[in-house]
Structure formats: structure tokens, C-alpha cells
Amino acid sequence: MKVVEKSARTIEEAIEACLVELGIKKDQAIIEIVEEPGKKVLGLFGNRLAKVRVSYEDDPGIIACKFLENLTSAMSVKADFDIEKNEGHVVVNITGTDLGILIGRRGDTLEALQFLTNLAVAKKLADRSRIVIDVEGYRKRREETLISLAKRLADRVKKSGNRVVLEPMSPQERRIIHTALQNEWNVSTFSEGEEPNRRVVISLKRSNNVS
């Protein structure tokens, strides 16, 4: 959080001076009026200046949490938020009871939540920071499930020689499958179809690639 206080003849001028110093737009700022401009006191001391305090939240994690707090309370969901800063991205963990509604079918709601939170944060901050949202460790669990599914299907492909087409997945989930199987020497993976119905295909590597 950055805070600047300035005095000027009018409130508008004081706000403007603060915004210039912080290098932000008015809709990114939280503005407090510390002192209203006053009339001359007995004609002696001149005008009392207007004083304002302008603060600017520059922490992507906190902006994301505020947005999610407003959103979940509008959905009448009780939840706690916990920010974890990683290199290049911020993870917001949401915990509470009965949060299945925030995950949705195959994580649809979670994806939408993450997408909108990233937009809301990008709106307030000039530099782009990536926000990852997780609910009750869902992403971690899902990743483990996908990896074991990938290994199982790869074995089936090796035995039968037939290719296997998986159900449609988001780019992140497809990446997990590709990564899990990239070191398998006799199967290859690729994606086919158009978003949002793009699917991973696991197939045998062509024999001329296998030594």
C-alpha cells in the first residue's frame, strides 16, 4: 500500500497532485479528505488549505483477496483467504466448508473465478501479475489425479497399440498430461480439436522413431 498526503487550495487540486505523484488514475485510488478547505479566519491567516490522503493498493494478492471477499459474500459463501507469493505469480488459497460450489463441474467455476480475478487485478494494477486461485487444494489433487490417469492410459496404449482420446480439458490440464508423459519412450501425446473441446490424444510413437 502506498500513501501520499497533499495540501492545495481545493480538494480537486490536492487529489490531482497526489495522483501525479503516485502515477495512477483516479479510479485506482482510495481517496480520503483529511481537511476541507476553510474560509479565512478573521481575515488574518489566509485560506486554510484542503488536505487529502490518497492511497493506492499495489499488492496484487491483496487486491485479489478483496475482490474475492466481496464476490464470495455476495454468493453467501463463507470462506477464508490466504495469499502465497511465488516467483512470477501469486496463489490465493480459499478455504472453508462446503466450497464445492466454488469449484463447479470439472473446475469450471474455479476457472471462471480465476479468470475474472485476474481481470479485476489487471484493472487496478499497471503491471500484469498472474493470480492462481485454488480452493481447498483442488488444483493439487486434480493434478495428481491427471498424472495417474495419464500413466494408466499410457500403459493401456502400450499394450493395445490403439490410441486413447481423453475428455476435453483446459490448456493447463492438458499441459499436465503432456508433461507427465513426455519422458515415456514409446508413447507420444498431442492435442486435437478446437477450444473448448480440445482433447489430449495418447498414441504409440511411430515405429521409425523407436530404435
Binding site: D27, A74, L119
Partner: protein
């Protein structure tokens, strides 16, 4: 339901004061009419309606509890 759309829309547009949500409901469906400033239409719809669809996904999740269908329309 109305609040959900309002919170999201206000966080995305340039003119949050112009955001209005009207709600009308029957026993089966809730109809939400989102109005934003003309210049902000793109901010709540997105490429190929991506933002609008994400908002719909969230309100649908919020409506699961009452077991009602939600329709979200956007207007300027």
C-alpha cells in the same frame, strides 16, 4: 444473485457508478439485466463473450442452492 453480477461488473469497468443490475424472478428462473456505460460494453463481454460467460458460470454456481435457472443479459 444481483449482488454477484454487480460486484464483478464494478471491478471490471471504467465507470463503476454506471453499473446497474435489475432482477426479475419467476419460480423457475431468475432474470438479471446488467446495464453498463456504452464504453464499458467490451469490458463485461470480452472476446467471444468470454467475460460474459465467466460471469454466467459464477451466478449459476450461486444459484445452485435455490435450484433456479439464471439468465444474464447485458445492455448499454
Amino acid at each position: 444473485m444481483k449482488e454477484v453480477i454487480k460486484v464483478i461488473a464494478k471491478a471490471l469497468v471504467d465507470q463503476p457508478d454506471e453499473v446497474l443490475v435489475a432482477q426479475s424472478s419467476t419460480e423457475r428462473t431468475v432474470h438479471l439485466q446488467l446495464t453498463v456505460a456504452p464504453g464499458d460494453m467490451g469490458k463485461v463481454i470480452g472476446k467471444h463473450g468470454k467475460i460474459a460467460n465467466a460471469m454466467r458460470t459464477i451466478v449459476k454456481a450461486a444459484a445452485v442452492k435455490d435450484g433456479r435457472r439464471v439468465i444474464v443479459d447485458i445492455d448499454q
